[in-house]
Each structure stands twice: as structure tokens, then as C-alpha cells.
């Protein structure tokens, strides 16, 4: 273990995956027994790790040293996992590219010169670069699946309530889940086993069992996998479209049946998501007033964070509620009902993670619509609270791509099984 850890400690962070590394703390944790014994992890910088800089990649919290462990961190430490450092991310998780971090963007280790995806940019990049064995990210609208896809690793967003959110500095409380990033589906399932399960400290926590890794079954024979034609309508890159259709053929070769399903309101997913997110994020950031810790957020944050705060404040005013937030909540019901209907006759849905390739590192994107567009296929799982994962599906013009697998609530096992089946066929 020590030899493995020392090798990882010595690796130079060439892609800016970490905000801060803690080699001494890691050495102290090493050698303990448990299900994660021998595994070295990075933790997204919005998850409290005692004694570590939990900055949410913002100047607002650049002096915030977490005074306690999030429940997921407690569980990792208890099972012998070693935390090497705090991973880079989009500021307060407000992004899909990783380039809004106060500490600079994260380069993509699998496609140098491109953004790594986000918001869990450092989590995915640190795994892809071989700096750690696995990582924890959080996913509000695709923030685990998107960077996992672009970096060519596995990412999983559990059913809402499966994993405790205690100790997470969340971006939008009703949408965000902590989840694993790893090099294989088996490792992602193992980490989910450890971090999942009921936590009395979290009011949204479900009493669910988590023994996914032991039950992992990659057999695709007889599996009914739904594919919505609306996916094809909204993929904007021909290479990605071909890659996803090739993935469908692989699944068929494994014995699965592809079933046509409908998601008629998929094009409404982005406006629905952002009308919800603006309001929830505005609410979540009221605690960052600089009085008890950190600095006042409005005076220290970047443009996208400020946009979300200002628009959340604007639409929270009573006279606008019917037009924006209330409509967003109603549209959320519509999208959720359609997704659950599409899932009714199949085991899981399969489809794209992203509609387009990642843009170039340091490319100035001024129109928020360009970045929001990355989320079109991933936000539906968050709006509906269902499990979804990204598993590598090869490369498109030298950039990794991923297949998304979406399941019914609490059927995380089925999602992981299909991901493992596809992974085995690759």
C-alpha cells in the first residue's frame, strides 16, 4: 500500500486536477483494513474533509478548512480508503466544463488541450490521469457523468437519497447526489457500496441496501434497453451520433434488445433544469455571507455563479413565481412522468451523455447557452431522481465519449449491470 501511495504522491499534477494535495494526511490514513484498503482517492472540493481546504473552487471559501467530515468521507476512512487530496471543480459546481474554477481549469488527460468536462473536473481527470484509483464527485445535472465521459472513465449518479448529502456544499439541494468516479464499473460499484445507505443526519436519505459490487452481473442477454429518437434529434455532433449507434450495436451483439421509446419533452429539459437550479442555488448561497467563515460570495465569485445568484433572486420575487419557478416545477413533473413512462417497458434507457465534444482549454465562452447545452441528456435523471451512469464508448476524433445508462428509481443495480455488460463487450 505504502509503495502504491508514494508513487501517486510523487506524480506531478500536470492537468490541474487537484486544488490541494495532503500527502502527510494520506500517509497517516494508509494501511488500515476495510473494503477500500489499498485504494487512494480524490474528493471533489465541495465535500467536507476534516482539516482540508473545502473551497468549492471559489475565492469565497479559499480560507475554509473543513471542521468535520461529510458522512461519505467518514465511511471511506472507516473502510480503509486513503484521501490524497481535494479535486478541482467548476466554482460551486456551476458549470459543465471545469473551466470556471478560481484555481484554473483542468486539462483533459485523455484529450490534452480540451476541457475535462464538469463540474467534477478534477475527480474525473485525477482518475483518468492515474493520480488516484477512484474519486468522489457530485452530480446536479450531469456533473459526474459529463467529465467521466470526456475523460474516458466511469461515473455514476445514484438514485436521489441513496447516498447521504450531509457535509456536501450543494449547488441545488433537490437535484444533487454524491457519486463515484472510477476506472471500472466494478470499482464504481465498490465505492458506492461504501458511501451509500441510510444516514440519520440527512433528511433526504433513503433506507436502501448497498451491496452492488457483489451482485454485479454483466450479462446482457434478454435485457430490454430503451432508446429515444429524441436523443438523435438533439445530438449536434455527427461523430458522437455514430459512436452512440455503434454502442447500440455492441449491446445488441451482447444479447440485448433495443426498444424504441419516447421522451417528447426532452428539449424542455434545459429550461426546466435552470429555472429550478437558479432558485435553489440562490437559496443555498445565502449562508456564504462571510460572517462565520469564508468571504461574502457576491463580492468574490465568478460570472456564472453571480448569474445564478442574481437570476435566482430575481425569479424568487413573488410576482414572478408563476411565470418562472412554478412553471419550472410543473415542467419537472412533466419530464419526470415522461421518463418514468419510457422506463416502464424496459430494464433501462441507453443513450448519449453529451451532444457535442468538449471545447478547447482556455477558449472564451461568453454565451451561457453554449455551456448549458452540454447538459441536455443528463439533467433528466436529476430532475427525476433516478440513477444514471456513464461508461466509456470509445473515442470520437481523439476525444473519449461515453454511453449513458438510465434506470428506474432504486434500480441502481440494473444500471450498473448494463454498464458492466457494455464495458465487458468493449
Amino acid at each position: 500500500m505504502m509503495e502504491h501511495l508514494e508513487k501517486l504522491i510523487d506524480k506531478k499534477d500536470e492537468v490541474n486536477a487537484f486544488i490541494k494535495k495532503y500527502p502527510e494526511k494520506a500517509r497517516e490514513q494508509a494501511g488500515k483494513k476495510g473494503r477500500l484498503a489499498g485504494k487512494v482517492l480524490a474528493i471533489k472540493s465541495c465535500i467536507n474533509v476534516e482539516g482540508c481546504l473545502t473551497s468549492c473552487a471559489s475565492k469565497t471559501l479559499d480560507n475554509y478548512i473543513a471542521p468535520y467530515d461529510a458522512t461519505v468521507v467518514e465511511r471511506i476512512k472507516k473502510e480503509g480508503g486513503v484521501i490524497l487530496g481535494m479535486a478541482n471543480m467548476d466554482e460551486f459546481a456551476c458549470g459543465a466544463t471545469g473551466d470556471s474554477s478560481y484555481y484554473g481549469p483542468t486539462d483533459n488527460p485523455a484529450a490534452p488541450g480540451r476541457v475535462s468536462g464538469g463540474s467534477s473536473s478534477g475527480a474525473a481527470a485525477s482518475v483518468a490521469a492515474g493520480y488516484v484509483d477512484m474519486a468522489l464527485g457530485s452530480d446536479t445535472g450531469g456533473s459526474i457523468r459529463n467529465p467521466a465521459c470526456y475523460c474516458g472513465v466511469v461515473g455514476f449518479k445514484p438514485t436521489y437519497g441513496m447516498v447521504s448529502r450531509y457535509g456536501l456544499c450543494d449547488m441545488a439541494m433537490s437535484l444533487e447526489q454524491i457519486g463515484p468516479v472510477a476506472n471500472s464499473v466494478a470499482d464504481a460499484a465498490l465505492l458506492l457500496d461504501v458511501i451509500g445507505g441510510y444516514d440519520p443526519k440527512d433528511a433526504t436519505s433513503l433506507n436502501s441496501k448497498t451491496d452492488f459490487s457483489k451482485s454485479l452481473n454483466p450479462d446482457l442477454k434478454g435485457k430490454r434497453l430503451g432508446y429515444a429518437k429524441q436523443f438523435d434529434d438533439l445530438i449536434t455532433d455527427e461523430g458522437i451520433r455514430k459512436n452512440i449507434h455503434a454502442a447500440l450495436e455492441v449491446l445488441k451483439d451482447g444479447g440485448a434488445k433495443i426498444v424504441d421509446v419516447e421522451l417528447p419533452s426532452l428539449a424542455k429539459a434545459i429550461p426546466t433544469y435552470y429555472l429550478n437550479v437558479y432558485v435553489e442555488f440562490f437559496s443555498a448561497t445565502r449562508k456564504y455571507d462571510g460572517r462565520r467563515y469564508g468571504h461574502k460570495i457576491e463580492e468574490n465569485c465568478g460570472e456564472e455563479v453571480l448569474r445564478r445568484i442574481m437570476l435566482g433572486s430575481y425569479i424568487s420575487q413573488a410576482e414572478w413565481q408563476g411565470k418562472f419557478y412554478k412553471k419550472g416545477l410543473q415542467a419537472r413533473s412533466l419530464i419526470r412522468n415522461e421518463l418514468l413512462r419510457a422506463l416502464k417497458g424496459v430494464d433501462v434507457l441507453v443513450g448519449p451523455v453529451v451532444p457535442k465534444p468538449p471545447h478547447k482549454l482556455h477558449e472564451k465562452v461568453t454565451d451561457p447557452r453554449v455551456n448549458y447545452a452540454y447538459d441536455v441528456f443528463t439533467v433528466v435523471a436529476n430532475l427525476s431522481g433516478v440513477p444514471a451512469g456513464s461508461v466509456p464508448s470509445g473515442k470520437v476524433n481523439g476525444v473519449p465519449n461515453g454511453l449513458q445508462v438510465i434506470g428506474k428509481p432504486l434500480e441502481d443495480q440494473k444500471v450498473l449491470d448494463v454498464m458492466a455488460g457494455f464495458e465487458r463487450m468493449q
Binding site: 478548512i65 440519520p200 433513503l206 429555472l275 460572517r291 465568478g302 442574481m310 437570476l311 410543473q330
Partner: protein, 75 residues
Amino acid sequence: MPDEKKILEEGKKLLEEFSQALKDVPNTEETHYVVDLKNVTRKDAPGKCDPQFRGKFEKLAPGWDYGYVKVEKKR
């Protein structure tokens, strides 16, 4: 520093676009949470307390006086 006025003006346009995109969504139930929120209670007994927590928290606060966080009254 980001230009607040510009962000708000452009943001209002964005909100109008989003609102237009959802104009034909029927008046249906609203989804706030996908799971039932429970009241979280603990046993009526002293909980575990990290004796060092207060010290760690004190270090984080910009102002601390007589055992209380000291803050600006109002800006």
C-alpha cells in the same frame, strides 16, 4: 469583477427564453423533491460531540469575542 448590470439584463432575456420554451406545459402538480422529506430526530439524549470542533470553528470565523462569533451588524 463581473459586470452585474450586464449579467442581469442578459439574464432576464434568458429567463424569457426559458419561460417561452415552457409556455405550453400544462398546469399540473409541482415537483419540489422526488423523495419524501422526513423530520430528522435523534434520541432525547446527549449526542456525540467532537471536543475539538469548537476550536476548529473558532479558527474559521473572521471575528470571535467572548465565546460568540462577532459579525458586522449590517451593511
